[in-house]
Amino acid sequence: MAAVLPLLPERHRAPPRPALLWILGLAAVASCAVTAGLASVNGQLYQPALRVLLVSWITLPYIFAGIVAWKRRPDSAFGPLMILAGFVIQLSILQWTNQPVLNTIGQLCDLLVAAVWLHVFLAYPSGRLAGRAERVVVIMAYVAAVGLQLVILMLGGFDDRHLLTVVERRTAAEAMQNVQLLTLSALALIGVVLLWWRWSALPRWQRRRPAQILINCFSLSLVMLAALLTAGAFQLPGFEIIRLATFAVAGLAPLAFLAGLLDARLAKGGVGELMVRLRADPQPDLRELLAQALRDPTLSLIYWLPQYGSWADQDGNPTNLPELDNGRRVTIVKQNGEQVAALVYDATLGEEPELVEAVSAAAGIALENGRLEAELRARLQDLQGSRTRAIEAQQNERRRLERNLHDGAQQRLVALALELGLLAEQAESDPATQTRLKSARSELAQSLDELRDIARGLHPAVVSGHGLAVALESLVAAMPFEVQLTTDGLPRLPEQVEVAAYYVVSESLTNAAKHAQASRVSVDVGVAEDSMIVEVVDNGIGGADSERGTGLRGLADRVEALDGRLRIWSPAGKGTRVRAELPCG
């Protein structure tokens, strides 16, 4: 079984202690008991049982959902925020008591619920207010809910059970209260706009159904809150009904949130599908499958290659683990205690660590295979590199030898031949000397010819000196059969590419002349899409085999060393076609 280890950002938090969560849960229950107690003691409360029920309905779900979220997503501040919201909203019940200090606190917190809701809804899902606009709206809501409440109470608003009355200005207090209610109402509506604006800015794949339901629930709560506050300001009829409906909806929000958490578990259904597909396809595109299972198209998959001590992509190219910021998260998958692969995904997926864990575990064996494949590719690249270096070194050495021959032995021998020629001029009257000189010169001429062939075989100097087109023209001219040569508009390219192309043509022509009994050959050389394409087609007997003759095999090595491809079609009796593609970028 694969082990998964999420690599979390620096701000990673330890999960809360279970004891703390238990205490919070018990405190929530206890606070409801207190609420019921206060309601029964009060005696003047309108519909006390319903009021207790409503207060519990808008607080307990927040606290309990918050506890679950905190436990499962210790990284997100949303859980603690919900718990806090539940308890803060409960403060307002203190106004049901006649104890002056507690009553004052209760009255001061009467409208806090409006600001707290805005805060919680806008802070979804991270628990933090992401944007400046959100922060401004929430701060204004707190100022309106508590700050203006303080002013109203100081003006002697509501009743005389609180301690804050400074001057008795009932009219002013009422006017101020209307301002407060309408301000909060407006802020709630702005909150709705912000919610939708942020939602629509998310990439499509992140706008999933559970989150969509949650956003709808938040929006409805805020709209109804705005309606409730407006109704309160204008003392519209049906205030109690609106309050009932608003609280009912607002209490649903944490339930929708819990449903979203549950959906993350349901998404593990995708794990089953992943396993089926992994079994069906022996060589899957693992990244694609994982991306689908995790519903994150941006997912990338990298492997740990222990032999290289580095991370690599699926093709074996070395790469680094990405920075943990920039909205990316990394989960390292381990097999038998050793790291095998890493999944790099969008940070929002970090909200569902169980899913990532389940998917990584399901893909365990396939990931191990993928890693072996990446390692194989890396080795192939290494091999490719060393072959390229070997051929390059060989080519440099051959070029050096040719140059030494050209500048050394060949020049000296030509100078010697010239000397003999001059001697022959002077010895015109001496037939015996003439004869010996003549034989010496013919020996020398033969040596020069042989030396020329050797030098030429070492390195085609004309290619580096004058380009492929000129070199091929000379090559083709020396062939005993008709050759159709096309090199139109061929630019000068890197020397190793030109030399390799030269050898492809030269070897193919040699093959056509020696083995294929060809009478007509066409040679086409051109550049297409950063590659030089060389194609030699003859009308000979076919049956050429790159594994048999060393010439064609050596050619394939030379071409592949440059990351190119050599293809030979040679059906018996149907001629031979050699095609090389040489990258020249």
């Binding site: 060949q410 100078a415 031949a417 004058h466 000129v470 070199a471 009478s519």
Partner: protein, 214 residues
Amino acid sequence: MRVAIAEDSVLLREGVAQLLTDAHIEVTARCGTADELLACIVHDPPDAVIVDIRLPPTHTDEGMRAALTIRQQYPDVGVLVLSQYVEVGLAMQLLADSAEGVGYLLKDRVSEVKEFIAALRRVADGGSALDPTIVSTMLKRHRSSDPLDSLTPREREVLELMATGASNAGIADSMVITQRAAEKYVSTIFTKLGIPATGSESRRVLAVLLFLRS
């Protein structure tokens, strides 16, 4: 006749200079690089230059480029290119526009003093001198329905000589025939190959080369 030499091997450069001096040809400049040669020509244009195809600094195509430059800017100066290898492709490049006043020979040819001097004089006089290996290489190719097949061995010999730039008199000398006989061979060859007869000897070099290449 006045000749400038560009050859980076001192041994060979001095050898060729000696050869020319012995033949009473004035050597106006002995250069080691293509740039030196071009500078010499600006100051004192000779009748012909002898250029090694591979010259410093890169020993790739400096000599060739100098030769082409001189052909373009000093049409009156004959250019004789020497090389360790002769390349049909380069011959075509050198003779692209005309075969007048140009030669392209294997370096070894300097040892055949008389022929070399003759070739040099031809080039200086506006004629041509093409290494025999170029022509023989091109003649080796077998074609289907080849008009060359209709030539007699003697006519092929004349064709080869003609393609190297030899004059009718030169052909007559080499083959030990009369100049009239040589002229007759030439006109028969042109008829058989379907090449329109051209006046000058250098023009017929080009015509034969183009025929052989096609």
